[in-house]
């Protein structure tokens, strides 16, 4: 079946511009996560959505970052006034019900963002 789909796969933008990154999770998965992978770094948690609950935004690095999930499915991560330090691969993952032990995360291929 279809996996987690992210678009675009690559995005180059100028410093100061806004960008939107899209994630289409696996159908039926109620939990959705955004992670950031900077060069040579591990994965940094950004935000977590579970069903209709309020999202866990504890990982967002600044107020320039926001995310929404419409209709419990597609999610968009928005970065306003991009900075060079925002350059990274942004990974989206979904899981069936967000229960860590029994509901593994399925990752998309990521969006590589380059801010010039």
């Amino acid at each position: 079946g279809a996996g987690v789909s992210q678009s675009p796969s690559n995005k180059v933008t100028e410093k100061g511009k806004d960008v939107e990154l899209r994630c289409d999770p696996i159908s039926g998965h109620t939990a959705l996560y955004w992670y950031r992978q900077s060069l040579g770094q591990g994965l940094e948690f950004l935000i977590y959505f579970q069903g209709n609950s309020a999202p866990d935004k504890s990982g967002l690095p600044s107020d320039r970052f926001s995310a929404e999930r419409t209709g419990g499915s597609v999610s968009t991560l928005t970065i306003q006034r991009t900075q060079q330090e925002d350059s990274a691969v942004y990974l989206c993952a979904s899981s069936l019900d967000g229960q860590v032990p029994n509901s593994p995360l399925h990752f998309g291929n990521g969006t590589r963002l380059t801010v010039t």
Binding site: A31, G40, Q41, G42, F45, Q50, G59, A93, F107, N109
Partner: protein, 113 residues
């Protein structure tokens, strides 16, 4: 707070040689431990996971990992490495902070012919 350390940033092994990738974690109560692999340009794929029970867990692609509570470790092993195993490997822990996984910095594996 939960955290994960992967001490080796890069490892190079010869094809056919054995492999061990190190992972050390800290956790509050019950650790749920995972290993993921990321091939170039790809997302992360789950190799194996541990929640409870037998401390030696088997995964896909011939990988296994052993949970050692006394050492706070969950090292990944493979008896004979193939060239296709060249990738980046991430250890992760969950269970302490709700449904969030905390990842280590990754270990990049290179395989010499």
């Amino acid at each position: 707070a939960q955290s994960v350390t992967q001490p080796d940033i890069h490892i190079t092994v010869s094809e056919g040689a054995s492999l061990e990738l190190r992972c050390n974690y800290s956790y509050g109560a019950t650790p749920y431990l995972f290993w993921y692999v990321q091939s170039p340009g790809q997302g992360l794929q789950l190799l194996l996971k541990y929640f409870s029970g037998d401390t030696l867990v088997q995964g896909i692609k011939g990988f296994e990992a052993e949970f050692k509570r006394s050492q706070s470790s969950f090292n990944l092993r493979k008896p004979s490495v193939h060239w296709s195993d060249a990738a980046e490997y991430f250890c992760a822990v969950g269970g302490d902070a709700g449904n969030m996984l905390t990842f280590g910095g990754g270990t990049r594996l290179m395989v010499k012919p």
